[in-house]
Amino acid sequence: MQEKLSAMVDGEWDDHELDALMASISQEEGADAWRDYHLIGDAMNQRSVLSGDFMANFSTRLEQEPAILAPNAMRRRMAVPHKRWVALSMAASVVLVSATAWYVSSARGLTVPGTPAGNELLAANQPIKVAPQVVEEVNPYLFAHQAMSGNPGFSHKPVILTGAEAERAAGHH
């Protein structure tokens, strides 16, 4: 089946194009702006677009964001019956979301069963601020996983871009 589908589109895909695109990102003057975005595809191309301290910056900013309720989404007709509505930070009302959800739950101090290491880390240090560090520990792997698996399960989350950052970039701020 897959072979068939692939055969139908053989020749449509040009890896060089993608590579050129990726290269342009890291070479361009605009590379600075890019550092604030997550282009997960970079991991696929074994090239880093992000600065090393991106996660640290992000976590700090996330903590400073005001908490709001997800606005538009709720007004729509919902087909999910027992949805527990939660406050989402502005930064988290984000693009393709699994990684972000991870930030949020961790920033709220969510603890996970069977995580003695993580909890001790929390207790030994500043209780509130350490959670993002644990998250930072996880996120690079999550990004790389999503980059390579494309869309594991049935979602589409190969791109991570924070809503707040995108808004700033777009000049809405």
Partner: protein, 325 residues
Amino acid sequence: MKLRMGLCSLLLLASSVQAAELLTSSESAGLLKRMAVSARILNYSGVYLYHHTDVMETFRLVHAYDAGGEQERRESLDGIPREFVRNNDQITCYLPNVRPFMLDRRAANKFFPGVIPDQILDVLNNYSFKRLGVERVAGYECQSVLLEPKDKLRNPHQLCLETNTGLLLKSTMFAPERGDLLEHFVFTQLDIGGPIDKRALKSVLASKALPLEPQPLPKALPAPLGGASQFVMANLPSGFRLVKEALSKLPGKADPVQHFLYSDGMATVSVFVEPASSNPVALPLSRSNKTVNFYSRQADGWRVTALGEVPLRTVQLFTQAFSVR
């Protein structure tokens, strides 16, 4: 209200009375193929909801198929505008003030409702297909099918395929034990068939995205390592197959990390192996955001990390399966 309650209880009754019928392998394979083909060769347009962890979003989708192949545009209706424009297997993502970028072919095969399993055979080996009741989604009748894992290493999935065409109208991933909903896609409005206005397929954001400038060809990528040969993989969780292997550059990490991607046909697990010294962290470390589970441990000077859309136990077994040769 009374009527609604009555209707609801009637529906509940109907669905509980209907015994789940086990599908044969050929029926199951046929179902997966039908799902993949219909998503590709039909014209359809609508709005779907994506619910994941604690987040809900809606997307508008327009899909057309003609002699030129598959054309598709989907846009986010909540939050920052995002647009995914498909030309056959190539999907270009547009965001305001950002350079457009493309997704690879594998990723393009995972976009709702055009979900194509990595290996149909693996799906059949790892999940039993049970026919449930007929549901109604976005005005269409659909046949609900449960993909029940044959062991405790993966999550159950439920699919609802439109009765006439086989188009996937709803897809849900549950947690194995408590049955919590982990991930959910469902059309809330849909039109199947009929002509699609070409204008609806054109990117709106392309004009707002940064221009795509021609660039010289990039430097050659480093040759892929025969990384697997350094490690012994013993007692890997059953039903998973290595589908990809690479050196991945992780954000915030100086050195590239060996990355192995496994799939059971539906779910994927990544295993990362790196020298332990590069990361002074209390291990083992385990995290979960419900949908994705993460486990990291250290052995023989190496750090082995696994994560994926599978139960925690499964990622833990993956880390234990890797050792240095």
